[in-house]
């Protein structure tokens, strides 16, 4: 029996909502049976119809949706929240209150207080709550994680990561007000722009690969151009709980870069590098040996890494499939729980606790910058 899920957001040609939908459907573990896709009534109906949702399960707002779905014997098992940042908390709280599991886009909420409240609520009610930190779920990342966990590159000493994009620079030139509008408005986006929007992805990705937690950080948040209300670029120095030093650069105005995440993990015996532009490969170096390129689905990978792939070597599983990997982990866990079995150990997803860590990371960065770029303990 498949899981049933609902989607809040995604109508109105928004970007990430439809990606959530594809991700959840991809491996035939769940079906979309309800939604509140947009507050525009006719667009909502149209979207729902296109996506095969029956009319009476297309709701005008999330409150009614949570209420009605919780009453139905065939109500949704979980909801996917793909709305702008400032609405995540209220929507998630509402569904949790109606005993519906949640998968929420990042950031989890605008403040760590809200995030912790959601986590507490989910735990109390024994509900599963995932957060979609996509980049940690590209197929080859599991190989990196296993290698580091197994000491293949020794003790992690240095982490250097960047996430440059240029959509904001382009939007400013073209006067495009689509994404730019809400992401640069603190009322919707929160206390931070780039650091919250993309810095958190770096924070999670490094954590996913290394298992390391940030102990303290020093951040410089930049408003480029100066008229911006929130940061569009940031530089962050970090120290991890094992003493490893880190450095992040995030930018939404780095012209010539689309979504060019690059993570370099340096250990005392070797190094691993991954870049989003070539998502199915890993650059692995053991000290004093030639660097090697690892690719997906190959025999020489760890078993759990091989288990991430759906198709043969050399064929790229991209952004949609990374999303599908998160939903696969999430749905597998939920189905396993229902069947009172153990979930597949090869599949995973980011939990609400990771979402809280992400918000705290952002708050620390904002605090550090506000205080004149000083070290802030996590």
């Amino acid at each position: 029996m498949k899981l049933r899920f609902g989607l809040v957001g995604g109508g109105n040609n928004a970007f990430i909502g439809d990606v959530h939908r594809h991700g959840a459907l991809f491996d035939d573990l769940a079906e979309l049976t309800a939604g509140c896709f947009t507050r525009n009534e006719s667009k909502n109906k149209k979207c729902g119809k296109k996506w095969g949702v029956s009319d009476e399960r297309i709701y005008p707002n999330y409150e009614v949706m949570a209420e009605e779905e919780s009453k139905r014997s065939d109500g949704i098992d979980f909801v996917s929240i793909a709305t702008p940042n400032n609405t995540h908390y209220a929507i998630a709280k509402c569904f949790l209150g109606h005993r519906i599991h949640v998968m929420c886009d990042k950031p989890l909420a605008l403040t760590s207080q809200e995030g912790e409240e959601l986590m507490q609520l989910a735990r109390e009610k024994n509900l599963q709550f995932g957060v979609t930190y996509t980049f940690g779920y590209y197929t080859i990342i599991e190989q990196a994680r296993q290698m580091i966990a197994n000491g293949d590159i020794g003790e992690v000493q240095l982490v250097v990561a960047e996430y440059p994009q240029d959509w904001l620079a382009a939007a400013q030139v073209s006067d495009d007000t689509g994404q730019a509008m809400w992401r640069t408005d603190p009322k919707i986006s929160g206390i931070s722009g780039a650091t919250a929007d993309i810095g958190t992805h770096l924070e999670y990705l490094v954590y996913k690969m290394t298992g390391l937690k940030v102990k303290k950080l020093l951040a410089r948040l930049n408003k480029i151009p100066a008229t911006m209300q929130i940061d569009s670029d940031s530089q962050i120095m970090l120290e991890y709980d094992n003493g490893a030093k880190g450095f992040f650069w995030t930018s939404q105005v780095a012209i010539g870069r689309e979504c060019a995440i690059l993570v370099r993990i340096f250990g005392d015996k070797g190094a691993i590098e991954w870049q989003h532009d070539t998502p199915s490969t890993l650059r692995v170096t053991k000290v004093d040996e030639p660097p090697q390129i690892y690719t997906v689905q190959r025999n020489f990978l760890y078993e759990s890494a091989r288990a991430q792939s759906r198709i043969c070597p050399g064929v790229i599983e991209g952004y949609y499939e990374a999303f599908a990997n998160m939903y696969r982990g999430y749905c597998d866990a939920l189905l396993a729980k229902r069947a009172e079995k153990e979930p597949n150990p090869n599949y995973s997803f980011a939990d609400v606790e990771d979402g809280v860590a992400g918000i705290k990371f952002v708050e620390a960065c904002v605090e550090s910058d506000a205080k004149g770029n000083v070290w802030v303990e996590m």
């Binding site: 382009a170 198709i311 949609y320």
Partner: protein, 375 residues
Amino acid sequence: MKLNYGLIGGGNGGFIGSVHKKAATFDDCCVLKAGCFSRNQEANAKTGELWNVAADRLYTSYEEMAEQERKRADGIDFVSIATPNHTHFAIAKVFLENNIHVICDKPVTLDAAEAEVLHALAKEEGLLFGVAYTYANYAVLQEARRLIREGALGEVFSIIAEYPQDWVLTPTDTDVMSDWLLDLEKTGKAGCTAHIGSHLEYLMRYITGAVPERVLARFNTYPVNLRIETEAQVMIQYENNIQGLMWASIAAAGNDCGIAIRVFGSQGSLEWSHRDPDRMLYHPLNQPSQIMVSGRGYLCEEAQRLSRLPAGHPEGFYEAFANIFRNFCINLQEYKAGKRSIELGFPTIDDGLLSMKFIEACVKSNEGGNVWIEL
């Protein structure tokens, strides 16, 4: 109104069937309504349940499926064929005869004679027939086509393409590849030339518009005990003095799916690699080289159309495959609305037929001591 479709294959964990299913429904252009996923009743039922196909539209025989679906008012508009090569002809023929449009995996048949039959039948019945040449459907390649079409490369004179893989050397890596691929009776007259050479032939022709006239081919087999060629080196002579060079190998150690193509002209060249399918390198003569990226606003309309995500968010194999289905469905909707002179946006049985002629010519060339054979 979405189109209804059926799927043949995909039920026994076969690789491409599941890909067909995910690709077909990716853009919500059609709904899977019927299937013959496996000849095994149980496997068929299990797959049918997984993919929400009603029990009365699950068939263990494709002949029965074609006949029954034809009779239904809500019968499928098209069928997707994702079975081993040697069954394509019979299955496609039955569906065409029952007035159902077809999309079929490649190579479309075992030989050119069979492909001719399907080509004639599709034309006679006025049916659409698509063939799944996935690799040509990455978004940025539309920009490559435009550059060439608009003369940015000047006069094109050389097309060099390769497709190295190594799965025949690494059997345990390739549990998705099946034994039938090494059996000439099931693949047709050729091995890798049919299996992957056909992808290259289409890619080279599709991007440049070049029309192949003759080929000179050399087949090699490593490991030597196999019955089929695991490597093909092919010289191609196109119209307008364009020369092509193709290398296809399934024994090229260290290569996963390294399709690459370079097109050279008097004013510039371009290159694309499947290792980085969202990007294309454009080298205008005497100017800095450029990297063109999928999803960007500076690309032509046809390229932008094929990207679903913002630039920098990789769309891979599934999405390239989905592009074929999306274009097929758009054309089929136009057809159903009564349009007849439709500009087809997907690879057709014409392309499938040309592939078969190409493969046969390569076989003949190799057998004849690597001589030029006219297409």
